[in-house]
């Protein structure tokens, strides 16, 4: 949240700086334009005065014969008129005399002709250049800032997820360890009957198994993530492998649901060890999220070139917005303290990575009337 606020502040600051830059450049060119404009107007006025002077016959009257003066000065007056017409457009001309009979030749002028067009064109060109420059740099800088902050935020998020992972992994390790400690201490310090002793030993073994499985998962995840794992691809009866994996889930004391399989051998080319992990992860998830009494279905769908394996349960399912995210590394459904299930957030990430190495794809979807399905698509190798 703080980061976002800071981002908004930085963008506002950049916009303000560039805005000020634009404003000062535009106002500078505008001043320049006005200055040139004024110069031209002044020139026009000067020419105007000269003409007025020449044709002010009242004044000339006193010293010279008007006609002769006019004739003598006509070429010069004509030249001035030409200049005036070249640079300026004379809108109206009005000659008046005041009470002392002085003639005023009032000319309302407007700059015209090539001169004005050129300076106006230059002005527009400069203005356009400034606009585009400023807009370009503003977009460049803002997108840069947004990119950097986006990266930073995703890094922070990954970091947080990694911390979450460490927390949940520690918890996951501690629970079986505590159980092992408690069982062995009970065996050591109490007089127990035979039945209790067997229960305690069973607890020891199953918790050691759980620790072992957890370590395997973390190690395999590290190896697959570092691309250190070597897949041994060979033709495998995946339906047999799946029912073997399911039987492990069925022997768990907590599980009292059922599996429903499609029959018949289905062959694919793949690495058995990692594929077993895929299905044991999917089944464990189904048991974990759909409850111990859930019904887990495995269906095989063959079409022209693909083999689809659909694993579905009848639990509560997930919201559609989470279908993609659950395959992310360290992603966990819900909040760390109040979530209903425990885990490391590695399972489905591993599943996706393993299937990717088999050139297979996995998608999550809802199941009717309730629950989740995972649809795995392999390319058929039994053709």
């Amino acid at each position: 949240m703080k980061l976002r606020l800071f981002l908004v502040f930085v963008i506002l600051y950049i916009t303000a700086v560039f805005g000020w830059w634009l404003y000062s450049f535009i106002s500078y060119t505008e001043k320049e334009f006005q200055l040139e404009n004024t110069n031209l107007t002044l020139n026009a006025t000067v020419i105007q005065f000269k003409i007025t002077e020449f044709i002010d016959f009242n004044k000339l009257d006193k010293y010279e014969a008007p006609f002769e003066t006019y004739v003598r000065k006509k070429p010069e007056i004509d030249r001035l008129h030409r200049d005036l017409n070249a640079y300026y457009h004379v809108k109206s001309e009005l000659s008046i005399r005041d009470s002392s009979e002085t003639l005023y030749n009032l000319v309302d002028i407007k700059i015209s002709g090539e001169e004005f067009k050129t300076i106006h064109r230059n002005f527009m060109k400069k203005q356009r250049a400034f606009y585009s420059e400023v807009i370009f740099f503003t977009i460049l800088v803002i997108s840069g800032v947004v990119w950097v902050f986006g990266k930073l935020e995703s890094l922070l998020k990954l970091n947080k997820m990694q911390n979450n992972f460490l927390l949940s992994v520690t918890h996951e390790f501690k629970t079986p360890l505590t159980a092992i400690k408690l069982s062995s201490q009970t065996l050591e310090r109490r007089k127990t009957d035979e039945e209790t002793r067997i229960r305690l030993i069973h607890q020891l073994v199953s918790n050691a198994d759980r620790l072992n499985e957890l370590l395997d998962n973390v190690l395999l995840a590290t190896r697959i993530d570092a691309q250190n794992y070597r897949y041994e691809m060979k033709s495998t009866d995946i339906s047999k492998m799946i029912s073997e994996t399911a039987s492990q889930v069925l022997t768990e004391p907590n599980f009292h649901g059922q599996f429903i399989f499609d029959e018949g051998p289905v062959h694919i080319t793949g690495d058995e060890m990692s594929l077993k992990l895929v299905f044991s992860n999917l089944f464990q998830n189904a048991v974990k999220y759909a409850g111990a009494g859930s019904e887990i279905k495995v269906k095989y769908i063959k079409d022209g070139r693909h083999l689809q394996i659909v694993v579905s349960d009848n639990g509560k399912g997930l919201s559609a917005s989470e279908y993609k995210a659950i395959f992310n590394k360290f992603y966990r459904v819900g909040d760390e303290d109040t979530r209903e299930t425990k885990g490391t957030g590695l399972g489905l990430f591993l599943v996706k990575q393993i299937l990717k190495s088999h050139k297979a794809d996995i998608k999550a979807a809802g199941n009717e009337p309730s629950g989740m399905s995972f649809i795995i698509t392999f390319k058929r190798t039994d053709l």
């Binding site: 305690l200 607890q203 199953s206």
Partner: protein, 116 residues
């Protein structure tokens, strides 16, 4: 002396082991596996001691503790946690007398005697 203990722990192996040991000490243990049923059980019955895990489904342990404290100021509550995070310990300490690890709970049961 027999006590009635409400044990709230969702990890089935820990739940079973704790229950087994507490019963071996001659206590009557009522075990539940989630926060909602813990609150319900406490409403329905009388207990001498509540042992609570923090990370449980439904309502979390700290909220269960709050719920219990609204009804009963006297009953001792022990938090059971494998978590070591300082903030958990502090959050727990504000509401309950102590946080204890499972093996401490069973083997240093002199502390159990002091509380109840």
């Amino acid at each position: 002396m027999s006590k009635r203990i409400l044990l709230v722990e969702d990890e089935s192996s820990l739940h079973e082991l704790l229950k087994m040991n507490l019963e071996m000490d001659g206590n009557k243990v009522i075990g539940v596996k989630d926060g909602t049923s813990a609150v319900q059980k406490f409403k329905d019955e009388q207990f001498d001691l509540v042992i609570l895990d923090i990370m449980i489904p439904g309502i979390d342990g700290l909220n269960v503790c709050e719920n219990i404290r609204l009804k009963n100021q006297e009953v001792p509550i022990l938090f059971l946690s494998a978590k070591n995070r300082a903030e958990d310990r502090i959050a727990g300490l504000k509401k309950a007398p102590m946080i204890i690890s499972p093996s401490h709970l069973i083997w240093k049961n002199s502390s159990l005697g002091l509380i109840t």
